[in-house]
């Protein structure tokens, strides 16, 4: 058994699901012949053929609509947005059709939308955003944000088998940076179960996606100074494992909420609010949020580095919280 990358894990999960269930199919721009802008579907066309691996016209509304219509009849589409940013073009379909149809009149709408997301790769204002918070506020949608190779595979398989529209935010920065050996066999990571990425006593960092990786590095630095950081990797934002958050806060009594999305209106506000409401008595310090600057995502390295939460920012917030 050899280590595979985060994006290979995504590919493996889809590959296995395509083999397991004839209702599963993939669609999106350049996913066939080209194997996808990030090669997540490389080789699929040769193996599964068109239209099961479907190079679509450049039409996000149609991609979403076709996914929905086929899902309502029992197909299980995996739609790729070439970059997460382009989901803004198919927005109405997701938030008004896919999200609401089951509640309104019953049909289930089992579809996965893959969203290559996030910065750190100098993508600029339209190729590096973290749009998850547009969707965490839409009842009817599920939102997952894998932070590890293991979860990339396990959450994808769970997403494909889920009977609801699932937005799968895969972080581009992690694509080839993370490697891991995965167990054999058919296993999934259930949606809605957070993970203690690192156990610690002094402070809880509640985070997800790429920031799990960055928080981990900072935690190691701080360990040298005797600060013992617990990291909660939410894995899925909707459903949210509120109990895992509260449990950690009840233990450490101090908390930093961290994400790569911009701060105002990011999902961190929701996390803070739940802690402030349901673990209030356990708090020994203000709940600090660390997130990107409230600007569009800038392109130049100097700007993107100033925009994103850097290790120094994370470290400063943790130190301030611990010493409060």
């Amino acid at each position: 058994m050899s280590a595979i990358t985060y994006i290979e894990a995504i590919r493996e999960a889809m590959y296995e699901e395509l083999h397991r269930d004839p209702d599963v199919y993939c669609l999106g721009e350049d996913i066939g012949t080209y194997g996808g802008a990030f090669r997540a579907t490389a080789g699929f066309l040769e193996e599964f053929g068109r239209p099961r691996i479907l190079d679509t016209p450049l039409s996000e509304i149609a991609i979403m609509g076709a996914s929905i219509g086929s899902a309502m009849l029992g197909m299980r589409p995996i739609a790729e947005m070439q970059f997460a940013d382009f989901v803004a073009n198919g927005f109405n379909m997701l938030v008004n059709f896919a999200a609401k149809v089951h509640y309104r009149w019953g049909p289930s709408c089992p579809m996965v939308v893959r969203l290559p997301t996030g910065g750190g790769t100098r993508g600029g204002p339209f190729h590096a955003t973290n749009p998850e918070a547009w969707f965490t506020r839409v009842p009817g949608l599920k939102v997952v944000c894998p932070a590890t190779v293991y979860d990339a595979k396990g959450l994808m398989k769970a997403a494909v088998r889920d009977d609801n529209p699932v937005l799968y935010f895969e972080h581009k920065y992690l694509y080839r940076r993370l490697k891991d050996e995965l167990p054999q066999g058919d296993w999934i990571v259930p949606l809605g179960e957070a993970r203690v990425a690192r156990e610690g006593r002094d402070v809880s960092v509640i985070t997800y996606g790429s920031m799990v990786y960055h928080a981990g590095l900072v935690a190691e630095t701080l360990a040298a100074d005797g600060i013992d950081v617990e990291i909660i990797d939410l894995r899925s934002l909707i459903p949210l494992d509120e109990e895992a958050i509260l449990e950690s806060v009840r233990k450490t009594n101090r908390v930093v909420v961290l994400h790569e999305d911009t701060k105002t209106g990011g999902f961190g506000g929701e996390i803070s609010a739940r802690i402030a409401e349901f673990a209030f008595e356990h708090l020994d310090a203000p709940i600090r949020r660390v997130a990107s600057l409230d600007t569009p995502v800038p392109h130049a390295p100097q700007l993107e580095d100033a925009f994103m939460p850097m290790p120094a920012d994370i470290e400063a917030a943790i130190r301030a919280t611990v010493t409060y």
């Binding site: 199919y25 239209p51 099961r52 679509t56 016209p57 039409s59 996000e60 509304i61 149609a62 979403m64 609509g65 076709a66 996914s67 929905i68 219509g69 086929s70 899902a71 309502m72 009849l73 029992g74 197909m75 109405n92 379909m93 008004n96 059709f97 609401k100 149809v101 089951h102 509640y103 309104r104 009149w105 019953g106 049909p107 289930s108 709408c109 089992p110 009842p139 009817g140 599920k142 009977d163 609801n164």
Partner: protein, 335 residues
């Protein structure tokens, strides 16, 4: 696009059709109109949860096109396609109970009017955002193609709604894949208060099909037989793997946009003209002329329709109202 309407179609001889089929069409138009009027009446009695949109004057288009479908085909009716819902097998009480916001209706009170579907009846419900059903029905058609089923999907759009991006993306997508999809564009001359010349400068809407490489047709939308035939042709094309068709139906919205709208902006002469082309009355005259229907015949159909409507109204009204239990509501957001 000129506000003027096309000439009515030359009524074809009805000789080639089974009388039962023709009378069935007639009955379904009457059912549609009766239900439509009942909904209006219930509104005026303050019994509806909210407003309502009338299908009046467009019954022929809905019933005639849906008559060309098989039961296992998918139809995706919009707000003025009540006739399609009834023709495709949805019981009247289903529709009424939704207007009345009943707990045991198709949306359990969660959505209103004809904003619902039923997979059991192969009916897709729309969302309010016009045009969205086009790519969604293309998706239904894609599933047929992938599974090797010879089913077809049919949906509708208005002269207004056809200017939404979803129309473009949905039809073009269907064109590339030659999906079994039929779209009927009901050009009823108005979109709310907006006349077609403010919607598009195109000479008509059917010509848009060329931009997607798909077939097109135009039809007198008030001639139920013409609509049936043109849809039939399109459905056969779709079933044979020859791809989608865009059909422009020439018709007229005979009421305001919704019941609150007195439609003062519609010229009286336009309404008067179209009154002479009423799909129910003109078809009735044809049936009479072909000696398929006399006054007694009409009356007995009408009596059955009334009976059905009364029963449906009673049953729908007897259905319970939702209790507003928060856990139940939260529990139904996810499948």
């Amino acid at each position: 696009m000129p506000a003027r309407s096309k000439r009515p179609s030359k009524n074809k001889d009805l000789a080639g059709y089974e009388p039962d089929f023709l009378l069935g069409l007639y009955r379904d138009m009457l059912r549609t109109r009766a239900l439509d009027s009942r909904i209006e009446a219930l509104y005026k009695q303050g019994k509806l949860v909210a407003g309502c949109y009338s299908s009046r004057g467009q019954e022929g288009c809905s019933v005639g096109s849906t008559a060309a479908m098989r039961d296992d085909d998918i139809v995706g009716p919009m707000i003025r396609n009540l006739g399609s819902m009834l023709r495709h097998g949805l019981p009247m009480k289903f529709v009424l109970s939704n207007y009345l916001g009943r707990a045991t209706g198709p949306t359990k009170g969660r959505d209103g009017s004809s904003h619902f579907g039923s997979l059991e009846h192969n009916v897709f419900g729309p969302i309010s955002m016009l045009g969205a059903l086009i790519p969604v029905c293309a998706g239904a058609a894609l599933s047929f193609q992938m599974r090797g089923e010879d089913r077809v999907a049919l949906t509708w759009i208005g002269d207004g709604g056809s200017n939404v991006g979803d129309f473009h993306e949905g039809l073009n997508f269907a064109g590339v894949l030659k999906l079994p999809l039929v779209l009927i564009l009901e050009n009823n001359k108005w979109a709310y208060s907006t006349p077609i010349e403010y919607q598009t400068a195109a000479k008509d809407f059917a010509c848009r099909a060329e931009g997607y490489g798909i077939a097109s047709d135009t039809v007198d939308g008030n001639d139920i037989i013409a609509v049936y035939e043109v849809t039939k042709k399109a459905v056969e094309r779709a079933r044979n793997g020859d791809g989608p068709t865009l059909i422009e139906a020439d018709t007229m919205r005979m009421r305001g946009h919704a019941i609150h709208d007195d439609a003062k902006y519609v010229p009286k002469e336009q309404l008067e003209y179209w009154e002479t082309r009423d799909p129910v009355e003109t078809f009735r005259a044809r049936l009479k002329k072909a000696k398929l229907l006399d006054d007694d015949g009409h009356d007995s159909i009408m009596a059955a329709v009334k009976q059905e409507l009364e029963t449906a109204t009673d049953e729908a009204t007897a259905m319970p109202l939702p209790t507003g239990d928060r856990d139940t509501e939260l529990g139904d957001v996810y499948a």
